[in-house]
């Protein structure tokens, strides 16, 4: 069980985010929920690349006697996470600017009062 704790943290974060997106009625809270899901997924990716007792895959000032590749963590998940973080920033910026406009238009952030589109 102990070796799955990081994955459980991932699942908990995704759940919290999904809960916020599905059951909260405030637009800002929905945006925060999406950000929490995204952090959970980033944690998931970075968790996949960890190797027991590994160091960062950087050769500058590597501790002498480190055997590579056996004692280095995987670089690809870190690169994927980096990409994912930047994507998250972009999505967040766009969502928040839409929320600002919606607030100016309707004067509220409540989903129930905004929904003018017919289903």
């Amino acid at each position: 069980m102990i070796e799955f704790i990081p994955f459980i943290a991932v699942v908990v974060m995704v759940f919290i985010g999904l809960y916020a997106v599905m059951f909260r009625r405030n637009l800002i809270k929905i945006v925060i929920g999406i950000t929490i899901i995204e952090s959970g997924i980033n944690l998931f990716l970075i968790t996949l690349g960890y190797r027991e007792g590994g160091v960062a895959p950087i050769y500058t000032g590597l501790p002498p006697g480190t055997a590579y590749p056996e004692q280095m963590v995987l670089p690809v998940p870190q690169a994927l996470t980096l990409t994912s973080i930047v994507i998250g920033v972009a999505v967040l910026a766009l969502m928040l600017s839409l929320v600002m406009h919606i607030y100016r238009k309707y004067g509220t952030l409540d989903v129930r009062k905004i929904r003018r589109l017919k289903e």
């Binding site: 637009l27 999406i34 996949l48 994507i87 969502m95 839409l98 238009k105 003018r116």
Partner: protein
């Protein structure tokens, strides 16, 4: 090596690089002169189209091409990103670039009076780039990156008319749905990476063991990509987004939607191609389960699309719901193919589905352009406020009649050919499904006849007395799509033999896709 060979060899990279570079250059170009950006966008898309033409002639003649980024030769294990262009990819690219060029021609007059046009053209080129990238890429994480580009750029374009609250709501709905969907795709990619330590689609397809995790990955990918393609029950964003975006943008978003549909095809036929015939519990092979699930959802989409279209009074939303129904027809064809994998009519269904993809782009696109022309001259969206336009807008009326006959599947237009192929093959699987599909198609005809009477025929409203015909560039864009619809309707075999059959074969022959990468070392 001659110049032509060099260009051909690098064309997969250049097809992405040219629209991307022109998108980056657009803020600088639009500072020079306002009209220059239209010309610039058109020229660059035309150049991209030339490269796609060059690549298409080669791919259709001599099989898929692989392009590796950053290295000349393939080495195992595959650490670099690569593009793998086969017949279905190039078929999708042709549709994308065609819609993009027509959208830019249409925007010439349609967007003339708007501000913020440099950003508009930038984002438009970015959506085109992302759709092309999704269609060419052979790397699953790269696919995700392009999916995100298309999501963000389309969302900003949907909110182009920021003064309208509905446009903002549609954009917000779209980005929430797409962002969560994209995160699930990322989770699925993480699961695949954790098991096989690879991100290349061909490598993954070969290594796939069909474990429990792979089942979850399949479900996540199909749900998200099906949602992005507009399949019920997660189609809610589609009528809003289509109906509230400027119609030229809608044309581009259609191409992004079709790229997601292509993603569904790629996941089912290539990524899970090796394990499709694996039996799950109780002797149900995987392909039967996927096939029937897709068929049921497709029928639901068709019914929802047609029934909701029946009660709409907003013209663009009405067309949006029709688009949901058309997506349903495509999924019906794909579901039939997968469910009856191996039977002779499965190939016919796939060909019908792929041809319907092209026809859907043309017909729905033409309908939106006509609706946009009406909005441009009258500034009204509701069908109650427009009447008797046929007197003043003669060409637009003709184009609308072409589009309505095509979308309802009437001969001799393009919709007839593909829908006939779909009905024929679905009938062999289950006659009831085919009858439902035909009935819904007839209902669609009735809906658009109603629109024809309401908007174009009928008494002339005093408020619309000084309405003029749409400007020339809009007529040219609509004319191009209408002539394509007629051309495909009159000579369907020409298109089926040269484009659709190779595309269907490339999808069914997933072993070739894998050996092009793994075997080519």
């Amino acid at each position: 090596m001659t110049l032509e060979e060099t260009l051909l060899q690098h064309s997969p990279a250049l097809i992405i690089a040219i629209p991307l570079l022109s998108a980056f250059l657009m803020p600088l170009v639009s500072r020079i002169h306002a009209k220059l950006r239209n010309v610039f966008a058109l020229v660059m898309l035309g150049l991209t189209g030339c490269f796609i033409w060059l690549l298409a002639t080669d791919v259709l003649a001599s099989g898929p091409r692989v392009y590796i980024f950053g290295a000349k030769n393939l080495t195992l294990p595959l650490v670099r990103i690569l593009f793998e262009v086969d017949s279905i990819g190039i078929f999708m690219a042709i549709i994308t670039i065609m819609l993009a060029i027509i959208a830019v021609i249409y925007s010439w007059s349609f967007m003339n009076e708007q501000d913020g046009l440099d950003k508009y053209y930038t984002l438009l080129l970015l959506v085109v780039t992302s759709a092309l990238g999704m269609e060419f890429t052979g790397d699953i994480f790269n696919f995700f990156v392009f999916l995100e580009i298309s999501c963000i750029a389309s969302c900003a374009l949907i909110a182009f008319w920021v003064e309208e609250g509905e446009a903002l709501e549609a954009a917000f709905k779209y980005i929430v749905v797409s962002a969560i969907g994209a995160l699930f795709v990322l989770f699925a990619i993480g699961l695949l990476y954790a098991q096989y330590d690879a991100l290349n689609i061909a490598t993954l397809a070969q290594a796939l063991q069909y474990t429990f995790l792979d089942k979850i990955v399949l479900i996540l990918l199909l749900v998200v990509l099906g949602m992005k393609a507009g399949l019920a029950p997660m189609h809610m964003w589609l009528p809003d987004a289509y109906g509230r975006a400027p119609p030229s943008v809608t044309l581009i978003i259609i191409s992004a939607t079709l790229a997601s549909f292509y993603g569904v095809l790629r996941v089912i036929f290539t990524l899970y191609g090796n394990v499709l015939t694996t039996s799950m519990r109780f002797d149900f092979p995987l392909h039967v389960i996927i096939g029937w699930v897709l068929i049921v959802l497709a029928i639901v989409s068709i019914l929802i699309g047609v029934i909701m279209a029946l009660i709409q009074s907003d013209l663009m939303r009405l067309i949006g719901y029709t688009a949901v129904a058309e997506v349903g027809y495509m999924f019906l064809a794909i579901g039939t193919t997968v469910a009856a994998l191996g039977a002779p009519y499965a190939t016919v269904a796939l060909q019908g589905g792929i041809l319907h993809l092209l026809n859907d782009a043309i017909d729905i696109g033409l309908l939106f352009l006509v609706a946009g022309a009406i909005y441009y001259v009258t500034k009204k969206r509701s069908l109650d406020d427009i009447s008797g336009l046929a007197r003043t807008m003669k060409y637009t009326t003709v184009f609308f009649i072409v589009a309505l006959l095509a979308v309802a599947g009437m001969p001799p237009l393009n919709g007839f050919t593909s829908k006939f192929l779909i009905y024929e093959s679905v009938y062999q699987l289950n006659p009831i499904l085919s009858i439902v599909a035909i009935l819904c198609s007839i209902l669609m005809l009735a809906i658009f006849i109603k629109v024809l009477y309401a908007a174009f025929l009928g008494p002339e409203l005093p408020a619309l007395k000084d309405v003029k015909e749409a400007p020339k560039s809009m007529l040219l864009a609509m004319g191009l799509l209408a002539s394509l619809a007629i051309l495909i309707g009159l000579f369907p075999n020409l298109f089926i033999d040269t484009l659709v059959k190779p595309a269907a074969d490339a999808l069914l022959n997933h072993a070739q896709y894998i050996t092009m990468v793994i075997g080519g070392v």
